[in-house]
């Protein structure tokens, strides 16, 4: 107990060095733990992008591009699938629900997704979260459009406003669907998933927008588009669809059935599996970050070692006095070891507290801006291991000056000037 008090007072007397050392260790621990927490948040957020969907079905192609284009709105579907095929599987006895997805247009760089009411009913993310409307209702008539939360807030749109969509997905498209303006009827509540970054309309709305087009191009200049006749509109094809089975057990055989579907070449993927695959690619970046923060921690600990070691010479006198009042040489060792462990303990505690403090203060901002659900991430075993490793390494490094002090106490005895 006396030793602990001595260690504490000795550290306090060198308050500037002690504070700086604690600060450097706190910063390194903060970086290490922060990267780890954000990584967990990213993984939770990422794998929660789409849940309770058993299969994603698109035209024959790679699983990753299909997931990226359908769920993350990155890249384009390799090909479309026909309405008949969709109907075939939508009415398949093993299938509970399907969500058709058709893409190809955009608005200020945000994708426009044509879908039907199944999307609002069955799309789920982060386990059991359903989509809901913050304002308005789902698009039901031809020229209705609903906005993802981010689209609405970034572009500062409100209900009832009319907007014009661009053909294609470029931010500055040369072809505008200027003669078919859409009315905003709903704004979705934020989900912190790519859903926030898209606009939603009906399947027929998509067809209406391209009414009279031939082979993907509008009618030539001078030739008017034919008058829109809603009764002539019909959906021919779509980019992909999401599918939920009645019983999860049938997922694998249904996947096989889709993949070997004769009338049209299709690809069906299990999103959870492909998300995992995608994550393992992204994880490299995170491992690098963790390595860098571990290196920073090593630097922090070395700074502590230097601070304690350089103080040794001016503390020889102090050691001699402590020996004179009867401290054993091993207690001198313990005293110096305690100092490094105290520094590391305070630094680690501060670092972890800072991370959780920051996450607590900033979690809504982080969730809204980056879509990372950090509030869901608690203390993990990994953080405890990091804390333990920091303490143990500090004690091990602290053993170096401690041993030197121990040697000094034996060599100098009471004779240090």
């Amino acid at each position: 107990m006396t030793l602990l008090r001595l260690a504490f007072k000795s550290l306090r007397s060198r308050s500037l060095t002690t504070t700086l050392t604690i600060f450097s260790i706190a910063l390194s621990v903060m970086l290490l733990v922060g990267v780890d927490r954000l990584r967990d948040a990213a993984q939770v957020g990422f794998s929660g992008t789409l849940s309770r969907t058993d299969l994603v079905v698109g035209a024959r192609g790679g699983g990753l591009p299909l997931l990226l284009s359908t769920v993350f709105h990155i890249g384009n579907a390799s090909n479309n699938i026909s309405w008949d095929t969709y109907q075939h599987f939508a009415h398949h006895p093993a299938v509970a629900w399907t969500i058709p997805i058709s893409m190809g247009d955009s608005h200020h760089g945000y994708r426009v997704v044509s879908t039907d009411e199944n999307f609002y009913e069955h799309y789920q993310y982060r386990h059991d979260h359903h989509l809901s409307f913050a304002q308005g209702h789902l698009p039901s008539s031809l020229f209705d459009i609903a906005l993802g939360a981010e689209v609405a807030s970034r572009l500062n749109y409100h209900l009832g406003q009319k907007i014009v969509l661009s053909h294609g997905v470029e931010e500055k498209s040369i072809i505008q669907h200027s003669n078919t303006a859409f009315t905003i009827v709903g704004i979705l509540a934020p989900t912190a998933t790519p859903v926030d970054r898209a606009l939603y309309m009906t399947l027929l709305g998509d067809e209406a927008m391209h009414f009279g087009w031939e082979g993907g191009t509008p009618p030539p200049i001078g030739e008017d588009a034919p008058r829109l006749d809603p009764s002539k509109l019909k959906v021919d094809e779509m980019s992909a669809f999401l599918l939920g089975t009645k019983s999860r057990v049938s997922t694998l055989y249904l996947q096989r059935e889709i993949n070997t579907y004769k009338p049209e070449p299709l690809t069906a993927i299990i999103p959870a599996y492909t998300l995992q695959e995608l994550w393992s690619i992204l994880d490299y970046a995170d491992k690098t970050l963790s390595l860098v923060s571990a290196a920073v921690l090593v630097v922090g600990l070395l700074a502590m070692l230097i601070a304690l070691y350089t103080a040794l010479n001016e503390r020889r006198r102090e050691i001699a006095i402590l020996r004179a009042v009867g401290l054993h040489a091993r207690q001198i060792f313990a005293l110096f070891l305690l100092e490094s462990t105290l520094i590391a303990a305070v630094g680690t505690a501060l670092g972890i507290a800072a991370v959780y403090g920051l996450l607590f203060v900033l979690h809504t901002t982080i969730e809204n801006r980056f879509g990372l659900p950090v509030a869901l991430v608690g203390l993990s075993t990994r953080v405890e291991i990091y804390a333990l490793v920091t303490l143990v390494s500090a004690a091990l490094l602290g053993a170096i000056p401690a041993f030197r002090a121990y040697r000094n106490s034996l060599v100098d005895g009471l004779n240090a000037h």
């Binding site: 007072k9 000795s10 102090e318 006095i321 020996r323 009042v325 009867g326 401290l327 054993h328 005895g413």
Partner: protein
């Protein structure tokens, strides 16, 4: 000046606070620093040990306080044979039974005056048990008042003058009445007036606690303040041998 009183009290190690017998010590083999056939310091006496710089005074004090052990011979301190004790038992004996005063910079810089004085009692229950006041705080205050440093009890030690620091060192050396007080050149950093006052105070307070005082200095003129005076070059045969 008298030399080692070999025949004064040959049998009773109880009566001797310190008794060295045929002690040899060297830091490097074959290069003796100390070779002392006999040295006895009777209990309760105030002894002046004189020796020029480099004559092995601090080495001798390290042997007596149990920091070092001789390669040969016995060192009896307060009835205990140090050469038969474990290093940590020697440390405990030193902390609980010996008060030690250094030449200068006697104080732990990060403790207050009060904490510096109380340190031996906080480390050793024996010394705490021997205090005369009811609490340690009162004992520290009593001793500090006796040594006229009570106004500075809560000051950081760096604020004190050299003379005040040395008086704090006396306070720490005598708190809890250790049986032996060793002072290693404690006056060399003081001017003459303060040196005499310091010596008077030191001899007074050690006789109040009935402690044996072993005072080491290169300055012969201090010898008159003590009961008995020894000369290290005379009792240490290693020095004469080296000189020969």
């Amino acid at each position: 000046m008298r030399c080692a009183p070999m025949s004064n009290n040959p049998a009773g190690s109880e009566a001797n606070a310190i008794a060295l017998n045929d002690v040899r010590f060297s830091y490097t083999p074959g290069h003796s620093i100390l070779r002392i056939p006999s040295l006895e310091v009777p209990s309760g006496r105030r002894i002046f040990l004189h020796g020029p710089s480099g004559s092995g005074k601090t080495t001798l004090l390290s042997l007596i306080s149990g920091i070092l052990t001789p390669q040969q011979g016995n060192v009896h301190v307060l009835g205990r044979d140090l050469t038969r004790l474990s290093p940590s038992a020697r440390d405990t004996l030193r902390g609980s039974e010996i008060g030690y005063i250094f030449q200068g910079f006697n104080l732990i810089p990060y403790l207050t005056v009060r904490e510096n004085i109380a340190l031996p009692c906080n480390l050793h229950a024996e010394r705490h048990n021997r205090i005369t006041a009811t609490t340690l705080t009162e004992e520290v205050r009593r001793i500090a008042t006796r040594l006229d440093i009570h106004a500075n009890l809560d000051a950081p030690v760096t604020r004190l003058s050299t003379g005040q620091q040395q008086r704090v060192a006396i306070a720490r050396a005598i708190i809890g009445s250790p049986a032996l007080v060793i002072a290693d050149e404690p006056t060399s950093s003081l001017d003459t007036d303060r040196r005499d006052a310091f010596l008077a105070l030191l001899t007074e307070v050690t006789s109040e606690t009935h402690a044996t005082l072993l005072f080491v200095s290169h300055d012969r003129s201090l010898a008159m303040h003590f009961d008995q005076s020894l000369s290290l070059p005379t009792i240490n045969e290693a020095t004469t041998q080296d000189a020969a």
